[in-house]
């Protein structure tokens, strides 16, 4: 029988805050690491187009591994560590980010690239002055998606001793504590919505030129 102890939250305030903090840290680290990995990969795939398909296939395969299975496998290699949690979480974000960054770069209109080259941009100037800023909205949409999906996935790492708010789910299940379950559920939901809104806002702030402009850079994923 599941109980809803009304004073549980007050008694465990420190635990809840610590888990929320861990959840945020894991999410932030995951997205930062994944972005740091995918940007060079995307640029590499742009330079060597024949790498595009294999890279997407590789990250796609990682994405399809069931999360529980992946974490169990990783524990065998890297033990019950935060590294294990991060490796797994990063692996799942790669596909979303890589695909979005590639689509974003490919969505730069051909005539804009042509004009930029013909006006005398070097390849590097073309990338940083034209392609990167134009790719930003779609790339950021990918970051948003990766962030929100990571926030959900972090809870799974509770099974290897981390998990942020996911720990509250474990407590809830093991002790039949409905209050812990609900708290974990509500906070992770809030976190996801807040992150999504904040990133959407950042996206608009960084791309004032895109306001009211017809979407020209293709879909988000």
């Amino acid at each position: 029988m599941t109980r809803f102890p009304p004073d549980w939250l007050a008694r465990n305030r420190d635990l809840v805050l610590a888990q929320l903090r861990e959840h945020l840290e894991l999410t932030l680290l995951t997205v930062l690491i994944a972005v740091a990995i995918t940007i060079p990969l995307a640029l590499l795939a742009r330079r060597l187009p024949r790498l595009r398909t294999p890279l997407l296939a590789l990250t796609g395969t990682l994405y399809t591994i069931p999360s529980l299975a992946l974490f169990v496998l990783l524990v065998a290699v890297t033990g019950l560590s935060r590294t294990t949690a991060l490796i797994g979480l990063v692996a799942y974000s790669l596909l979303i980010l890589l695909r979005n960054i590639l689509v974003a770069l490919e969505g730069v209109p051909a005539e804009v690239r042509d004009a930029a080259v013909a006006m005398g941009h070097t390849p590097r100037q073309l990338l940083w002055r034209v392609e990167a800023p134009l790719a930003l909205p779609v790339a950021l949409a990918g970051v948003r998606l990766a962030t929100v999906s990571t926030i959900g996935l972090v809870t799974v790492t509770a099974l290897i001793g981390y998990g942020g708010l996911g720990r509250l789910f474990l407590i809830g299940f093991q002790r039949r504590n409905g209050t812990a379950l609900l708290t974990g559920f509500a906070l992770s939901l809030l976190l996801a919505v807040a992150a999504d809104l904040a990133l959407a806002r950042l996206e608009r702030r960084l791309t004032p030129w895109a306001e009211a402009a017809p979407a020209r850079t293709g879909g988000a994923t």
């Binding site: 209109p109 005539e111 004009a115 013909a118 006006m119 134009l134 895109a210």
Partner: protein, 361 residues
């Protein structure tokens, strides 16, 4: 001066874009490459700024083989305008125009002053500078494209169907403005179009091209219209070649013909002599200070020519207008003539179909 010396271009898929092109484009002039789609005119243009590299031969720009200059540096010295314009959507109009000066490392104040100057040159109000491309009309965008190409004052300009995507009214405006700007700047312009009328209107010289990159005829618009080199050129010039030629010739090229002109107060026999000399049954009536009063039938002239009996001409033409405009007036005139006036409104003479025919043969 841009010279193509035995240039060929074979693409990776084996198609031949250009087969041995020899062409010398004079400096300070607009040379129009005109021809049907697929004739290699755009390929030829893009060889100049190395957007396409030749398979053989060389392109010499101002005495230097373009392949001896690093592509980015070469291109910053060559303005570039295309039909799709390719404005940077993430940069304001001012930032777009400032592109090449910024790449060249101009200081901010100089860039700002240059942008203001160019907005004015292409006829855009200053506040357009702060807008993004998606907030501009098609015509405004094309003007920004021209301003951007002129920003660092390159001696050479490449223009590929730059006015192809705007409506006819705006296109005519933009063509006029290009002529006005060019009259002041004397750039060496390579202008690509498939539109014969645009070529005739803008070109100091025209190269009529056919696939693969063959020049069928190279000359001034008047030369080509007067004597098409072959059937291809004749067909490409299309119908109304005579009218197109007339459009290029100013009225001033024809010596003024006094026609059957008499001054108010002339006797009847003087009027009759004037009419007989011009082989007409009417006379032009002028005031003593040679202002045009109108015309009258010889039969209606009394003992002397009087101002009161003169019927006004509805239309008249001036020296700077074209013979095509003169012809237009002739066909709507009762006598099949067109009256030519000086800038101060004094009578200079009449034009007849015979005058035009003499010009075309």
């Amino acid at each position: 001066m841009i010279t193509f010396e035995g240039v060929t271009k074979r693409f990776a898929d084996g198609t031949v874009g250009i087969e041995h092109l020899d062409l010398a484009l004079p400096g300070g002039e607009i040379t129009v490459l005109v021809g049907p789609s697929g004739c290699g005119k755009t390929t030829a243009m893009r060889l100049v700024n190395r957007m396409i590299e030749p398979s053989g031969g060389r392109i010499v720009l101002g005495g230097t083989d373009v392949r001896d200059v690093p592509p980015a540096a070469l291109r910053r010295g060559i303005g570039y305008v295309i039909q799709q314009i390719g404005l940077f959507p993430h940069r304001t109009t001012a930032q777009n125009i400032a592109t090449v000066p910024e790449l060249d490392g101009w200081d901010r104040a100089r860039v700002r002053a240059r942008v203001a100057e160019l907005l004015e040159l292409v006829g855009l109000p200053p506040d357009v500078g702060q807008r993004y491309p998606h907030q501009l009309s098609g015509g405004q965008r094309q003007r920004v494209g021209v301003a951007r190409a002129l920003a660092a004052d390159p001696p050479v300009l490449l223009m590929d169907e730059p006015f192809g995507a705007v409506d006819p009214v705006v296109r005519a405006q933009l063509q006029d403005e290009l002529r006005r700007i060019q009259a002041a700047m004397r750039k060496t312009i390579v202008f690509v179009t498939h539109d014969v009328d645009e070529a005739i209107l803008l070109g100091d010289r025209i190269a009529v091209m056919s696939a693969p990159g063959r020049v069928e005829q190279f000359g001034t618009p008047a030369e080509i219209l007067a004597a098409p080199a072959n059937d291809f050129v004749t067909r490409f010039l299309g119908a109304e070649r005579g009218l197109k030629r007339l459009a290029l010739i100013p009225v001033a090229d024809i010596a003024a013909d006094q026609g059957p002109a008499v001054t108010v107060g002339a006797r009847r026999d003087e009027a009759a002599a004037a009419a007989a000399a011009a082989n007409t049954d009417w006379v032009v009536v002028l005031s003593p200070d040679r202002r045009l009063l109108g015309w009258t039938w010889l039969d209606d002239v009394g003992p002397t020519v009087e101002a009161a009996g003169a019927q006004p001409f509805r239309l008249s033409i001036q020296a700077h207008e074209s013979l095509r405009a003169a012809l237009d007036q002739m066909v709507s005139s009762q006598h099949g003539i067109c009256v030519r006036l000086g800038p101060d409104g004094t009578y200079e003479g009449i034009l007849t179909l015979e005058h035009l025919a003499a010009q075309l043969t």
